[in-house]
Amino acid sequence: MTDLLALIVAKYNYWLYVILMMIGLYAMIAKNNLIKKLVGMNIFQTAIILFYISIGYKKNATLPIIENVHGTGGGHIYAIDYINPLPHVLMLTAIVVSVATFGVAMALAVRVYQRYKTLEEDELRMRLSEK
């Protein structure tokens, strides 16, 4: 019983990330509205970013900003006391790029609406086959 509980505490985060990822994937595949698909894409993206950040987490460690730089602390810095900064760096830029791509996707959606007066996928397909 305690084994099972230990397994759940150790792994439940990953299971919830997978669920979040699947919500995003389902929205991208099955939703009819283009903007809903974009929301699904963003949810998928943040789920992956969340996964990366959680890889870098260490128990009983502090933020990746070194303490007592100007104080008397000094001494040797041990890697085990600080959270892994590398995933943070990679994901920080990924978030800003994601908002830029989100803006471009919104511009495309506005363009599609200007031309076809709809954002629903089935109506779009109908309009396209008329011509």
Binding site: N32, I35, M106
Partner: protein, 81 residues
């Protein structure tokens, strides 16, 4: 970090994600998506990724919601599903 806080915030995140997908009004989707981003920012702050949480609070919950509302203003608000 205490795992109950983590679990509660993660549950909120998943609720917000499902609600943002299911609701039939795109303006409501925009606001729910902002709430989702903010919960995500909270989760990252709890995990110690302060830089990433800061970025997400300014980018995800702030500017991308504004882009979303701007795009809805120029397209239509209703959706079929």
């Amino acid at each position: 970090m205490y795992w109950p806080i983590d679990l509660i915030v993660l549950t909120f995140v998943i609720f917000c994600a499902i609600a943002a997908i299911v609701v039939k009004d795109l303006l409501a989707t925009a606001i729910l998506f902002g709430a989702y981003s903010f919960m995500m920012c909270l989760l990252w702050a709890v995990m110690g990724a302060v830089d990433v949480a800061f970025t997400e609070a300014s980018v995800g919950a702030g500017v991308s919601t504004v882009f979303f509302v701007a795009a809805i203003f120029r397209t239509s608000r209703r959706t079929k599903d």
